[in-house]
Amino acid sequence: MSTPTFFDGNAAAGELRDVFATDTTNAAGQCVACGAIAPLAQGHVYAFEPGIIVRCAICEHPLVRLVKGAGHAWLDMRGLVYLRLEIP
């Protein structure tokens, strides 16, 4: 398969809401690699047990990696310069 199947950041909303206190699909993040700024909803999501990867929709650089194990979540966000979250 030349292009792996992906969903988008909308589909990661549930898993990310387990570790964030607020919605992340509407949060704008800047990609470390290409500088693009976009809501996480626009990212490409590859979900394979036991984790998910959100990649930049422009350059496919990994922005967020989340892996869950027994009682812990590992969150790797080094692909983001920042994430601007809405706080109600």
Partner: protein
């Protein structure tokens, strides 16, 4: 609405299936009763979790089809051949059965009825589901926001909500619906089967000058193509919100 869920974790609920109805040749709507459901916004989705006897779990996202209505939730499930989850949801699950769901989820691919601007909806196949929630929410809120929908679908028999869309096109003031059939058309349809293209887009959408809010939902390839045509038609890319799902199932 759903303001209470903006902070803190989103709960898993045990919903009960109270009704099941055929929505097309391959899609079924499940009506769920969800005690303590906080309400939802049009365009949001839920995660559905199935757990096998040996503890194996599978989680999939499904768009919510109905306008918020107390503790009732409607999911329309397109059965994916060889799917791990959708055949169970569409065929096996029956009234009275429990179903674990988490939500409401997503704050970006959402339409709020306070908005008055024109709204352009573009659906590919089962991508109609969250857009249907927007059309229903618009009617429920007596919104005057002008709405246009382009619905690309395989055939008349694969059309979801066919009767309701026909009725709403006549009764809902300010709602216009255009269809594109990709494999088989209704009898006497003036067009051949075709995929959505620059011409079908140009004929049906709001002029770019009206700067509509735009929601595109469907399989990945459809969403990429349709949003490309919208940009060619002069749409501002920052006004186009997309939700895509892969051929293996996922969101709706």
């Amino acid at each position: 609405m759903a303001r209470t869920t903006l902070l803190g974790r989103v709960a898993w609920y045990v919903a009960a299936v109270i009704e099941r109805r055929d929505e097309s040749e391959t899609a079924r709507t499940l009506v769920l009763k969800v005690p303590q459901w906080p309400g939802h916004n049009a365009g949001q989705h839920v995660d559905v979790r199935l757990t096998a006897a040996d503890g194996y779990t599978a989680v999939r996202s499904y768009s919510i089809a109905n306008a918020t209505q107390g503790d009732l939730l409607e999911l329309t499930v397109e059965q994916v051949p060889d799917g791990e989850v959708s055949p169970y949801l569409a065929r096996t699950l029956s009234p009275g059965d429990p179903l674990e769901i988490r939500g409401p989820l997503g704050g970006w691919f959402v339409w709020h009825p306070v908005a008055l601007e024109p709204v352009q909806l573009v659906a590919g196949g089962s991508g109609i589901v969250p857009l249907m929630a927007m059309i229903r929410t618009r009617a429920q809120a007596h919104s005057r926001a002008p709405f246009r929908l382009i619905y690309s679908v395989r055939s008349p028999g694969a059309t979801m909500y066919a009767g309701e869309l026909r009725r709403r096109a006549l009764e809902d003031d300010g709602l216009a619906i255009a269809y594109v059939y990709t494999r088989a058309t209704p009898p006497d349809w003036p067009r051949p089967t075709q995929r959505i293209n620059a011409t079908t887009i140009a004929e049906s959408v709001f002029p770019a000058g009206q700067n509509p809010a735009c929601f595109v939902c469907g399989p990945t390839a459809f969403v990429e193509a349709a949003s490309g045509f919208l940009k060619e038609a002069g749409y501002n890319p920052t006004r186009i919100k997309t939700e895509r799902f892969g051929p293996s199932g996922g969101t709706s």
